[in-house]
Symmetry: C3
């Protein structure tokens, strides 16, 4: 039999070929040959960061990294108030650190906004970017999602990225690492990317 008979489906033993394809086809081809994209069920990149939010309260202009800019009627924007802060919206530019020390050298900035969005308990919603400009990381990671912050962990989406994080997608797990009254909180963010290019 010659190779020509590959063209004859009737003489073609599908199952073994299928197995071979199963083993050597798409997943085995170096990703660069298809595109540079890598997708897996295991994260293709994992990163852990902390960021630190100090809300402006009228007395801490120098240290504050976030400020309340919107609130329901009657809100004074100098403190989180109302029913579980429902409706208070803050804009932030928070330092990102590699450990949980506010005074560690920042490796980037977390920039975006959050607002409290439930009357009965504390929950928030976040849209923000991690902006890196260091020898280690260049570029940004963009996030969005609900933050039911009374839960120990909560997942938001990595919706895109640029630079070193070009086209990234994934899930970020937020954990409240510390909070001090209504003025300071620190989040730990475990980023798991499942699409890397």
């Amino acid at each position: 039999m010659t190779m020509g008979s590959i063209g004859n489906p009737k003489s073609f033993q599908m199952i073994p070929v299928f197995l071979v394809l199963f083993l050597v086809s798409c997943p085995a081809i170096p990703a660069a040959a298809r595109t540079r994209r890598i997708r897996t069920l295991k994260p293709c990149k994992e990163l852990v960061f902390f960021f630190h939010d100090i809300i402006y309260d009228g007395t801490n202009a120098k240290n504050a990294t976030s400020v309340i800019v919107a609130a329901p009627v009657g809100g004074d924007k100098l403190k989180l108030d109302g029913q579980n802060h429902f409706g208070d919206l803050a804009v932030f530019d928070d330092p990102i650190t590699l450990d949980n020390n506010l005074h560690s050298k920042p490796v980037g900035r977390a920039q975006g906004f959050y607002f409290y969005d439930k009357k009965e308990i504390f929950t928030a919603w976040l849209g923000f970017s991690f902006v890196f400009n260091s020898t280690k990381h260049q570029g940004s990671i963009n996030f969005a999602g609900a933050d039911p912050l009374m839960n120990k962990t909560r997942d938001i989406s990595v919706i895109g990225g640029t630079g070193d994080f070009f086209m990234a997608r994934g899930v970020a797990t937020l954990m409240t690492d510390a909070f001090e009254g209504e003025v300071y909180f620190r989040l730990r963010v475990d980023i798991k990317l499942y699409e890397c290019w």
Copy 2:
């Protein structure tokens, strides 16, 4: 001729192999073998929900599910006003139901924000999550996009998901199912996911 000659491109009959690959290669390999991701032109998951928004107007604190937190200069945040509400921004925590009855048992919460963004007609922009915590669904779906709400249907993006909706992407079609003055509206949301993991 032996199989060894597969290595000789000149003796290799490309077209039939190509056809075979065409039929049995990537699309036919069980998704789990590649990754668990499924992508199709047909939705890999379809969901229909309703959510209900009752804007705080100063008199309905108990029932209100959303509140105006930002408005142009002069806006009083107790009613949508100005030119087609241009610039009014609301934060919401709306019940999600399976049918169009406000009083049906909620299956989750729609949490996020919207704002009106055109002077000449009503249009809005939405960023929000569907947050599920039930026996049926766990996790969240994240949305963003323009809502030209005078159109019968309008499409926004599913930009990510967590839990049962891990890494979801798709399109959601919004339809105004009802509205009562400036205080209540109900949206029907037809979610079609084209990336499922």
Copy 3:
């Protein structure tokens, strides 16, 4: 030797087959056969637009395309002020043009919000959509990301799309093409999609 021996790995010369697969497998199969999605390292679609933002300052109601709706305590929402406008949030409905002329016929609208988010320098964060409804383009492109606007170019994410831009993902490069005081700016946006369906 018969084709049956393909099933015998020992007699199967893997490397040449691998090379063939490398050449003809997934990337070579017409995208339509897999899904209609195309992913490449080169953009699958490139678009260049300009959009024009005229901020309401209390005197230009007719021409203004954006309005400040939120600001830190003390901000008057009639001008960008404070420390590098930190915390000022604007909602916009800006005309999109194909060239840098504000008076060219718009091909769509850029609708969304931006806010200034750093005390020390000008930086912003944007969430918006390009909304097209013309013979040339129907549908929307959704964007999010950090805009360190003092940089000549800065990248944000294309997080989704609808209509002609169904399921789009990519990167958009922003360039400040012009600005006049605090009232007018024009951005050039180079959109590169890396996922097209």
